[in-house]
């Protein structure tokens, strides 16, 4: 359980990002409240340095997000490579 000053988020990776990371989903807990997406990405880069070198956009709770947005407990954060559907 997270205290009031800590949050947990779910991180989803897709396509080439999931392949490179070897994982499609991560749960990150005990994060500081109001952590920004930028700061979350900095933490993820420790485990997945390739994230510094490949392009992606970020969705928060299934909507495209700015990287200065503050996260809330229970957020779903998705890293989306350039789309190629159709």
């Amino acid at each position: 359980m997270t205290s009031r000053s800590e949050i947990a988020v779910r991180v989803l990776l897709f396509a080439g990002l999931a392949e490179r990371a070897g994982v499609r989903e991560r749960r990150l807990a005990e994060l500081p409240a109001a952590l920004t997406i930028d700061a979350l990405l900095a933490r993820l880069e420790r485990d997945y340095p390739f994230l510094r070198e490949v392009p992606f956009t970020v969705a928060r709770n299934r909507a495209l997000a700015r990287r200065d947005e503050a996260l809330e407990d229970g957020d779903e954060v998705a890293l989306l490579p350039p789309v190629s559907g159709g």
């Binding site: 080439g16 392949e19 969705a59 299934r62 490579p81 559907g85 159709g86």
Partner: protein
Amino acid sequence: MANEAAATPHLTRTRIDVDALVARVASVEAGALCTFLGTARRHSEGKEVNLLCYEAYPEMADAAIAAIVAEAQAQFAGARVAALHRLGDCPLGEASVAVVAAAPHRVEAFAACRYVIDAIKARAPIWKQEQFRDGTAWVGDPGSFRPREGG
């Protein structure tokens, strides 16, 4: 996954039934029907493709396609649109995406159909993997080539 299929009506893991899509939008008031099918091609930038495989962020992709369809219907007079994208394996020659647009007149039917396929390709969180003889790669992701295992 029947549950997923029900929750994401614009995505399917089985062959696209174009006639069923047409039946959803056609009416005796719509004199024009424009259909677009994207199909898996044998060649991509000179390399021979054996199979395509599509992955999506399903909930977000489904919501994106629903929003795009609504935009087209609001923008083009009298247009009714249905769209469906395939996920998972898509054999050569089969449709990976289908858009059908019915309207009283052809200008709006063409415009609505074109708007929806362009927007799906630009905005829906869906990714295409090409399978070659010697490995796989995600389209538009230059460093993603992975040699075939055991090849």
